[in-house]
């Protein structure tokens, strides 16, 4: 077994933002030298406010975006050293928006079956059976298989996305805010499902969220991201009971803020900040 399911070394991605035709473009370090390691079977929560670079990081891990610098290792092998096909058998994404992650012109059956077809695994019969089995596993009623995504609810769609991600039996899932587009009542169902699947299949998760509260009951370790960097990481207990960095403390207290609309409390005083980082 690989030592690390996922290892990022000094991963960076810079964007140049155009400021009109005559001005110098500004440099945005969306992801700035991030190193992370996730052991097989572990769940790492990556938390940070919107725009801090979480999705950019996920895209680089998934091979959707070239890093400016640094490496991604999947099961101890460099991403890029092997083909997309073999990478996709080890690592699959669950995206944020289940309304955009399913092709509206395909039936649910076609969507879940696509990975098997692309990887030429099994004949039509065994593929159909695999689709039924996996739908069962994620709690998707069989009668929905002939429907189109437009006829499903958000929660059902996210189950379809999970089924599609799992049908190739990968050992790592990258979940980029998998529940933040869902109704609150459905969020818990999907989170429970993800946890059950983890137990049953021994999956490794990179679980991305802007909300510490969401990851609290799911993760083994937490990494806190701010402006492209990891400012603090540790076990769940470390972070939730004994956070060192003021940004983490701010995130925590925003979770505990009785009125969500109040947002981040003003504790980002710069002296404390510099001390901690």
């Amino acid at each position: 077994m690989a030592e690390y399911a996922l290892e990022l070394t000094n991963l960076s991605r810079h964007f140049y933002l155009k400021n009109g035709a005559f001005k110098e473009p500004t440099l945005l370090k969306a992801v700035d030298g991030i190193s992370l390691r996730i052991r097989p079977g572990e769940t790492l929560g990556l938390v940070g406010e919107s725009g801090c670079g979480k999705s950019t990081l996920a895209k680089m891990i998934l091979g959707l975006l070239e890093p400016t610098d640094g490496d991604v290792l999947i099961n101890d092998k460099m991403r890029g050293a092997s083909s997309r096909l073999s990478m996709s058998r080890q690592l699959q994404p669950i995206f944020q928006d289940p309304y955009s992650s399913l092709n509206p012109r395909k039936t649910i059956e076609q969507i879940i079956r696509l990975p098997l077809q692309l990887h030429k695994m099994g004949d039509a019969n065994s593929q159909q059976k695999a689709v039924k089995d996996i739908s069962d596993l994620v709690g998707l009623p069989e009668r929905l298989l002939t429907n189109y995504p437009g006829q499903l609810s958000g929660g059902q769609r996210q189950r379809v996305a999970i089924a599609r991600a799992l049908i190739l039996k990968p050992n790592i899932l990258v979940c980029d805010e998998p529940t933040s587009a869902l109704d609150v009542s459905v969020q818990a169902q999907i989170l429970n499902l993800l946890m059950d699947l983890k137990k049953e299949l021994g999956l490794t998760y990179l679980f991305i969220s802007h909300n510490l509260g969401v990851v609290e009951h799911l993760v083994d370790r937490v990494a806190v991201m701010y402006r492209g960097k990891i400012v603090e990481q540790g076990t769940r207990e470390d972070i939730f009971q004994n956070a060192q960095h003021p940004y983490t403390q701010a995130l925590l207290s925003s979770v505990l803020t009785p009125e969500p609309a109040l947002g981040l409390p003003e504790v980002l005083d710069s002296s404390a900040w510099n001390q901690a980082s």
């Binding site: 995206f95 696509l114 596993l137 709690g139 998707l140 190739l168 059950d196």
Partner: protein, 305 residues
């Protein structure tokens, strides 16, 4: 599976059950509810059937000349007869038969030219929209160049240069009318390029060809079909224009534009010789446009599930 998940799934089914009306029923209802689309489809369907069945329907050979039967007026005229329902032209050819065969020419040209230009424009637009960057810059330049050329003038010049014939008109119009396809394909592709289902297919290792043809294209097809109807009507009118000017389909073929052209010397005394093919042309173009408008309405966001 653990108990937790199975209860979870039952709850979600109860909560989120949507009434399952078959997709085709909803489409059919919306189709029947749209009066313009219904009318347009009926008229267009009728014209297509008449054109296809023309060889069995025509009362006379459309090419057969008969000097003793020239310029017979149509049946509703006091000197008309049921022998020639729409009368005859200056060479004594049966007008109804020529009109039916003319529908074949118009439809063939409209469909073929729109297919050729659809292929060119969609390819260019999808590539520009999907890849962006330099590819987009080059293709956008080509589109702008094409938009800067006046279609009628170029078509006239080209057909004057190479000579008119059915095939020439099809190729010429096919090469000229792709701009709207390219613009629409480009912008719809840009909207979908970053959709997560495309990203998911990429992660799965699908080839770019697969992603463009199987994932993206079906989602922009409805917009392209609307453009297709517009360009079909456009091509049919341009063919009539070219033929009217003697630069399109050549005699003795019964193109509607050519029939109007051949009748123009008589239009003050025997107006039906240009009125009949003129009205036919107008009805066909109107029907195609009604269908196009209707399809666009059916694909409008609020009509989508």
């Amino acid at each position: 599976m653990s108990d937790a998940t199975s209860t979870v799934s039952t709850v979600s089914n109860a909560n989120t059950f949507l009434p399952v009306v078959p997709e085709w029923r909803r489409t059919l209802n919306r189709f029947l509810g749209h009066r313009g689309l219904l009318m347009g489809s009926i008229i267009l369907g009728l014209i297509v059937v008449l054109a296809i069945l023309a060889p069995w329907l025509v009362p006379h050979d459309p090419y057969l000349q008969n000097i003793s039967q020239r310029m017979i007026p149509p049946v509703w005229h006091e000197k008309g007869s049921w022998e020639h329902v729409f009368g005859t032209d200056k060479l004594g050819r049966d007008y109804l038969s020529r009109l039916l065969y003319g529908a074949r020419i118009s439809l063939t040209i409209g469909l073929s030219a729109a297919l050729i230009s659809g292929l060119i424009g969609t390819t260019l637009g999808v590539l520009a929209g999907y890849f962006g960057g330099r590819v987009d810059a080059v293709i956008s330049y080509i589109i702008t160049t094409r938009l800067a050329m006046p279609v009628v003038l170029v078509a006239l010049a080209m057909s004057a240069l190479v000579g008119g014939s059915l095939q020439m008109v099809i190729i010429l119009l096919g090469l000229l009318l792709w701009d709207r396809f390219a613009v629409v394909a480009r912008s719809t592709t840009q909207q979908l390029r970053d959709a997560e289902f495309i990203a998911s297919a990429k992660v799965l290792g699908a080839s770019t060809t697969y992603i463009l043809v199987r994932e993206l294209l079906p989602n922009i097809l409805s917009a392209l079909i609307v453009v297709m109807t517009l360009e079909m009507a456009h091509a049919i009118l341009l063919e009539a224009t070219l033929s009217f000017l003697g630069l399109g389909v050549q005699p003795p073929m019964p193109s509607w534009g050519l029939m109007i052209s051949e009748g123009k010397a008589y239009m003050f005394f025997k107006p039906w010789v240009i009125a009949i093919p003129g009205i036919a042309l107008m009805v066909l173009v109107l029907a195609i446009n009604l269908v196009g408008d209707g399809l666009r309405d059916m694909n409008a966001p609020e009509g989508r599930n």
